[in-house]
């Protein structure tokens, strides 16, 4: 339980005075994520501890260096959870890293993303000022929503010191169903089921099989099973963990020197053309692809259907890895960066090359 807030603030202030870029690191589990960037290390792993957790308020507040595993364990004792199922990508993953990367797991299309659960944050901006936005209440519209703006910003707008998250009860019952089918058939079913009041909580298509998770009350889950059919698989929990954590054979077989792409597309988009190995996640809204196709062709294919693509693992991390922004949006991003970090010292270049 250590509060290093003031020391971290002072480090940022000094870096700003000297204009020294800082590379912000939590548990170093997601060093692969985003662009490769250099800077003096600003370590957050010592800044840890759950500050406040009241199960019946459905809110937890913790310092950013707190291990995600610790937070999940504290919640699990009260039969609660982080409903966006953040991927850890390693034992050392911290809360701050998870929020800064803004990644969400299998439950995302049905329960919401990391940003949907952020209620408030304390940050250090690029001028070494400690600022607090949002709070520990579910509804709060005082001032601009700066705490959600931090989610997925990869630390480029501020160093996260504390985050308050909405948490949810664990479902009483979960069941995973599986069946063989073609990808077109899987996408069609998923789109149709999502339009019905079914207790879906995860769905993916891999190796010619569709997997669906149901969560809710025991009777509700059983009724839904009767409605949609499929074979029940026993190790549902570890299956979905392997999808979230990329330990499923899809991600580990023959993947070493290839690039893993993450494509986000509108729900109900048919299979896309680039050749390669595909895993369809999030009811088809998130698609993983190992391919040798060029980035240009992937970006073009995904733009045609109104989506975006990110070079998730591997490849040239000095080029852009996130989807290029339109000119007006790029300009807004640069100005926002300057509004929070006028000296450009917070993780410069980690998100986009020029800032």
């Amino acid at each position: 339980m250590d509060d290093l807030g003031e020391a971290l603030r002072a480090q940022v202030e000094e870096a700003a005075a000297r204009r020294t870029p800082l590379a912000i690191v939590g548990g170093a589990s997601k060093g692969f994520f985003g662009r490769q960037a250099e800077g003096a290390l600003l370590r957050l792993d010592g800044h840890r501890g759950v500050i406040d957790y009241e199960p019946t308020e459905l809110v937890i507040t913790a310092r950013s260096g707190t291990p995600l595993a610790e937070i999940e364990a504290v919640l699990a004792e009260q039969r609660q959870m982080l409903a966006f199922e953040p991927p850890h990508f390693g034992m050392t993953a911290t809360l701050g890293g998870a929020i800064a990367c803004g990644l969400s797991g299998p439950r995302r299309p049905y329960a919401g993303a990391a940003r949907d659960f952020v209620l408030g944050a304390r940050i250090v901006n690029g001028q070494g000022e400690i600022l607090r936005f949002g709070g520990q209440v579910m509804k709060n519209v005082a001032g601009y929503d700066v705490s959600r703006l931090m989610v997925g910003a990869l630390g480029t707008l501020g160093v996260l010191l504390e985050v308050s998250l909405k948490v949810l009860p664990q479902p009483v019952a979960e069941m995973t169903l599986s069946r063989q089918c073609a990808p077109e058939q899987a996408l069609d079913w998923l789109a149709r089921w999502a339009g019905q009041p079914l207790p879906l909580s995860a769905s993916c298509f891999v190796d010619d099989r569709l997997y669906v998770r149901l969560s809710g009350t025991a009777t509700g889950v059983e009724a839904a099973q009767r409605a949609i059919g499929g074979d029940r698989i026993e190790a549902g929990g570890s299956f979905w963990r392997s999808i979230a954590e990329h330990t499923h054979p899809f991600f580990t077989t023959d993947a070493t020197d290839r690039i893993l792409w993450r494509l986000a597309v509108p729900a109900a988009t048919p299979p896309l053309s680039p050749p390669g190995r595909w895993l369809l996640d999030w009811g088809g809204a998130q698609r993983w692809l190992y391919t040798e196709a060029s980035s240009a062709s992937i970006r073009e294919a995904v733009e045609q259907v109104g989506g975006h693509a990110q070079q998730f693992r591997g490849g040239d991390r000095r080029a852009e890895v996130f989807h290029p922004l339109s000119a007006p949006l790029a300009s807004v991003h640069r100005k926002l960066k300057a509004a929070f970090d006028p000296q450009g010292i917070l993780n410069p270049g980690r998100l986009y090359r020029d800032w």
Binding site: A113, V137, Y144, A153, A194, P197, G220, E222
Partner: protein, 497 residues
């Protein structure tokens, strides 16, 4: 840290005749209002205590018109206030004497409903309820349901991040939209968010939601649609103490249940509602809870039984489960009619909107009732208990000299109480002009400066809704001085966090 003076744009002189003729070159005559009697209907939004006739009202109906209006205002440095239906309760759409009121109500077309993607793409002037009506044939609906949903626009909802009675389970506006298109003051069209999830770059969609018309003018919105639940049921429970009702709320959540709606009303609110709509509320109760559960038939059955057990254990003096859909709507009618019901008890009422950690509710209600006695003004409370959003309604008579001013002062102290217990001055109605002083209580100067820095990214000349939502430090200094003058710092005896 620089001290900023009050926004000069809210007071700069604008040549009205010249601006009117410039607008008439862009818009048909019927879309440019400038005579006193035409402007009068726009002098206030839902917060009628504040009134200001705008300089000019424009009513565009094409995107090109909006772009040109904004470019013209930018060029002339004329301030612009956007307006949807004008149901806002914080004066966000209050016009400026030297400003243009940009009314978006004519943008009322539903552009697309896509049942497979479960989205609707609509113009900003579309009414909230109209989206659910258009989605209904597909078994879908738009979840956020403010009580004003028959009148308020989706553009206004985005600007306020509006909620409703179902947000504990289904979220606020920010959780239920995918993409917006908006013009910045210089006429640039931004597409924010996207049709796919989690757009690249910063989460500008979150930043824009709840930004109260300060950053850009929204011209198109894609919302998410949800399947209508198969089954909905409501339980009405009565309590002889507010504490017990609060305990029951915590008890239901501790059971692992997230109700679709969880509303509380205190004794004055119960009595007013019952007299007004005869909804069957127990008149001897100190508090009632309305707990709505939805899902599959099996789920709802199971959870109703669980909730009933919790309510019993927590000392409910009466529990009723709606016997049919008619009675369910009857139970809700009292809650939904609470505001107008209060309106019958006094010539005027003033609706506050604080949010607090739920566990502090009994203490907050006690302090509100002490404040109510101190000011000699009755207060009734309706409470989105699930998510801690409190709506105290202050009853007053604006025709009594000084009563409006005392009401506002009492309201301000209630909001400061919310901050003192770890909550916020506004859960869903926005800051607008109403709570601008209390922003100084909730935020430090460096935080307010950061808000201004964000504002300047989009609107460097501060022409969009100047003077709203974020107070200048100068204004906070004045407010601080006034506070000391009135002889109370807010709740010095309460622990801050």
């Amino acid at each position: 840290m620089s001290m900023r003076a009050a926004s000069p744009n809210a007071i700069r002189r604008i040549d009205k005749d010249e601006l009117v003729s410039a607008f008439l070159r862009l818009l048909p005559p019927a879309a440019v209002l400038h005579e006193a009697e035409d402007l009068r209907p726009y002098e206030s939004d839902g917060l009628t205590a504040y009134r200001q006739v705008p300089l000019i009202v424009v009513l565009p109906d094409t995107l090109e018109q909006v772009r040109k209006i904004l470019q013209l205002c930018h060029e002339r440095q004329a301030p612009v206030v956007a307006r949807g239906a004008g149901t806002g309760l914080s004066g966000g759409a209050l016009p400026l004497a030297n400003g243009v009121l940009l009314v978006m109500a004519r943008f009322n077309r539903i552009l697309d409903v896509d049942p497979l993607r479960r989205t609707a793409t609509v113009q900003p002037g579309v009414r909230n309820l109209a989206i659910s009506q258009a989605a209904a044939p597909f078994g879908l609906y738009y979840a956020p349901d403010p009580s004003s949903q028959i009148a308020c626009t989706i553009g206004g909802n985005v600007a306020e991040n509006s909620g409703g009675v179902h947000c504990l389970k289904y979220g606020l506006t920010v959780h239920n939209i995918l993409e917006i298109k908006a013009f910045t003051i210089d006429g640039e069209l931004l597409t924010i968010g996207g049709q796919a999830l989690d757009a690249a770059g910063y989460d500008l969609l979150a930043l824009f939601t709840g930004s109260e018309g300060m950053l850009a003018v929204t011209v198109e919105i894609t919302v998410k649609l949800l399947p209508k639940p198969a089954c909905v049921q409501v339980v009405l429970a009565a309590f002889d103490e507010v504490e017990k009702a609060g305990g029951a709320v915590a008890g239901i959540i501790a059971e692992g249940i997230i109700p679709a709606g969880l509303e509380m009303m205190d004794a004055p609110a119960i009595r007013a509602a019952e007299q007004f709509v005869h909804c069957g509320y127990p008149l001897d109760a100190q508090a009632i809870l309305l707990c709505e559960l939805d899902g599959t038939v099996e789920e709802v059955e199971e959870q109703i039984a669980q909730v009933q057990a919790v309510l019993d254990r927590c000392g409910a003096t009466g529990i009723r489960i709606a016997r049919d859909e008619e009675q369910r709507l009857q139970f809700w009618k009292g809650r939904k009619g609470a505001f107008p019901a209060m309106g019958r008890l006094a010539p005027d009422y003033y609706c506050m909107d604080g949010a607090i950690p739920r566990k502090r509710l009994p203490e907050v209600l006690r302090r509100i009732s002490a404040l109510s006695a101190e000011y000699g003004l009755p207060v009734a409370n309706v409470f989105h208990a699930g998510d801690g959003n409190l709506h105290p309604l202050i009853l007053f008579d604006a025709n009594q000299p000084g009563e409006l001013q005392r009401t506002e002062e009492l309201g301000g102290r209630i909001l400061e109480l919310c901050v003192a217990v770890g909550g916020t001055i506004t859960g869903e109605h926005g800051v607008g002009i109403e709570k601008i002083a209390q922003m100084c209580v909730q935020f430090q100067p460096a935080e307010l400066e950061q808000f201004f820095a964000v504002k300047r990214v989009f609107d460097p000349l501060e022409l969009l809704n100047p003077g709203k939502a974020v107070p200048t430090l100068h204004r906070c200094a004045e407010f601080g001085a006034m506070h000391v003058h009135h002889g109370h710092t807010p709740f010095p005896d309460l622990e801050r966090f």
